[in-house]
């Protein structure tokens, strides 16, 4: 188990190191000077451009030798200093991200966990019920092939615009301020429902198909056939098959995380939901490079953390990892 965890931790640390390095490298080694590109896009007067230019040079600390810039970057990172946003000047990027994160967690955690559980259950049932299989399978393929933002658009259009049941923008009504009351919580949930549903549905399709295929594969395998020949009740065989099919689904969750986060970003943009995705859209449109870089680092840290949690779950679920039988 120690070997398994140690190996994983090493990979995560290396990944974090690579990610931070990419974050540092790209602005410096992209064709052209990012500062000049940034200023050119802003179309400022010559004198104000010069002021901003020197600000950026100092902000990026581009006047120092490269190795020193790199070390400074790390040092600043550990102080939680991700620079100052130009879009929401003079707020620190860290503060902006901190404000957005609760919305992301509120949207993502229930969507990921519930869709995973529901998808696995329904997929497992579909593997043995013919009519369910014939309906879930095509539906699952359509759902899992839909771009996240498209399903979000369809739901917003159908349930928000045409039927007028749900609001289609923001995390709470324009007339409200965040505070603790039933009115606010109800409004929050009301705004949360559509973005949550669109994320849930796309993921649900993928998990259901994955589980259905895994169960069928497991029921065809040697141990199932052997149990069958011994006269074991079908229910018990299916239980074993389900347990074995769970493992790839857990690994799948770890592998999908990056894609899920990307989907959440796009969904937030559709609903103008004030999470990281919406921040990135605004940062891109306002060429706020510090904010983009900050969001990038935040997403990577989040995905690494989630991966680590999944690894811990894996240790509980799969006895082989505890015995050090798998190095991966």
């Amino acid at each position: 188990m120690r070997r398994y965890l140690g190996r994983k931790l090493l990979i995560y640390l290396l990944t974090f190191f690579v990610a931070v390095t990419i974050d540092w490298l790209i602005p410096r080694f992209m064709p052209g000077n990012p500062v000049d590109t940034m200023l050119a896009r802003m179309a400022l007067r010559a004198d104000s451009a010069e002021v901003l230019r020197s600000y950026y040079i100092r902000a990026f600390k581009l006047d120092l030798p490269l190795w020193q810039q790199y070390l400074n970057f790390w040092a600043a990172l550990f102080r939680g200093d991700l620079g100052i946003s130009t879009w929401l000047f003079p707020q620190p990027v860290f503060q902006i991200i901190k404000r957005a994160v609760p919305y992301d967690l509120f949207l993502l955690l229930p969507a990921i966990i519930l869709s995973w559980i529901a998808g696995n259950r329904v997929g497992a049932i579909a593997a043995r019920v013919r009519w369910l299989d014939n309906t879930i399978l095509p539906l699952g393929y359509i759902l899992t092939a839909s771009p996240y933002m498209w399903l979000a658009i369809v739901l917003a259009w159908a349930l928000g615009n045409v039927a007028g049941i749900f609001p289609i923008a923001g995390a709470y009504g324009f007339g409200l301020r965040p505070h603790l009351s039933w009115l606010f919580i109800k409004d929050l949930l009301w705004h949360w429902f559509l973005p949550f549903s669109s994320l849930f549905l796309v993921m649900f399709g993928g998990w259901a198909i994955g589980m259905r295929n895994m169960i069928i594969y497991e029921l065809e395998s040697e141990y199932s056939r052997y149990l069958e020949s011994l006269g074991t009740p079908q229910r018990l065989i299916r239980k074993y098959a389900f347990r074995n099919a769970m493992l790839p689904q857990i690994t799948g969750l770890a592998l999908q995380l990056g894609g899920i986060v990307a989907g959440a970003l796009a969904t937030e943009i559709v609903f103008a939901y004030p999470g990281i995705g919406y921040m990135i859209l605004n940062a891109v449109q306002n060429q706020d490079y510090f904010l983009i870089q900050g969001c990038f680092l935040f997403i990577i840290t989040g995905v690494l953390l989630a991966n680590f949690i999944i690894d811990l779950v894996y240790i509980v679920v799969d006895p082989r990892t505890r015995l050090g039988m798998t190095g991966e």
């Binding site: 990944t15 990419i22 590109t37 092939a145 771009p147 498209w150 796009a266 891109v284 990577i300």
Partner: protein
């Protein structure tokens, strides 16, 4: 006799391929959209970005898919966007598959230190969320074309392919015919490409199909965030514009729905084809 066998095998594949309903349906949808992408742009006189007519019109005989808030022809945007979708899928998926195949084969066949290093690299790129890297790269590129986008998408999408191919190579490299080739003194490179790769051709094809679909979805998300091509048209960009210019609030379904529906149909068709082909290649899975 020796010359007749491959033909026989091929016709057997063809026989099962034509009988497979999933493959027929998937291929049918794919070919439909491919033809649309090739022919579609010629059927309209409007450029996707010119202001061709009155704004925010629902579909009519003049503008088949309606017009945008600015009076651009949605049909023209759709047809041109479909083209770039296939280009991104082909190039992005192609590069993703190629890099995955080379790294997977190398790691799987060589083993040892080479495998350790490549495996570490694969794991690192696997964990980093692809899209966030693409966002950072795209944000700093002042001019972005569909080709650059496809290349970057391909270069970040290979890890799972490399991993899967590595596992396949592991199981193949201890087979007798590979040992025999090794004894005959051939170089590793030749063994990998003449003995091992041909034996997983069907598998590689399936990987390519999934990479193709993945590249299309990645590109759509990237374009939707506003980091797509700075010139040209794409389906993701259409959705980006539609949402930015309040098509949702105005209920302009003809602008909102078609681009994503096309992507969902194409990627869905690819997935279904993938399952169908798997059944064709793998006799165990064939439904009799």
């Amino acid at each position: 006799m020796a010359q007749e066998r491959p033909k026989e095998v091929r016709s057997e594949f063809l026989y099962f391929a034509l009988r497979n309903r999933k493959l027929r349906v998937g291929l049918g949808i794919l070919v439909f959209f491919l033809l649309f992408a090739i022919i579609g742009p010629f059927l309209t006189e409007y450029d996707p970005n010119t202001y061709a007519g009155p704004s925010a019109q629902p579909p009519s005989s003049e503008f088949w898919f309606g017009t945008t808030t600015f009076g651009q022809d949605v049909y023209s945007q759709f047809a041109h966007g479909l083209r770039s979708t296939f280009i991104v899928g082909l190039i992005g998926g192609g590069i993703g598959t190629l890099v995955g195949v080379v790294i997977g084969l190398l790691a799987g066949y060589r083993g040892g230190m080479v495998d350790e290093i490549l495996n570490m690299l694969t794991n690192i790129v696997l964990i980093i969320p692809t899209l966030s890297v693409l966002i950072i790269i795209a944000a700093y590129l002042a001019v972005r074309g569909i080709l650059t986008e496809s290349v970057f998408i391909g270069l970040t999408a290979w890890p799972w392919a490399a991993r899967a191919i590595r596992a396949q190579t592991f199981s193949l490299r201890t087979r007798e015919f590979v040992d025999l080739a090794r004894m005959s003194g051939r170089s590793s490179l030749r063994i990998v490409f003449t003995e091992i790769a041909p034996n997983m051709m069907s598998y590689l094809f399936l990987v390519f199909i999934l990479q193709f679909g993945g590249a299309i979805l990645n590109a759509a998300t990237l374009d939707f965030i506003g980091l797509g091509p700075t010139r040209g048209m794409s389906l993701g960009l259409m959705m980006n514009n539609a949402v930015l210019w309040a098509a949702l609030q105005l209920g302009m379904w003809w602008w909102l729905i078609p681009p994503g529906a096309a992507i969902a149909a194409i990627v869905g068709a690819l997935y279904v084809m993938n399952v169908g082909l798997d059944e064709v290649f793998n006799p165990k899975l064939r439904e009799m």
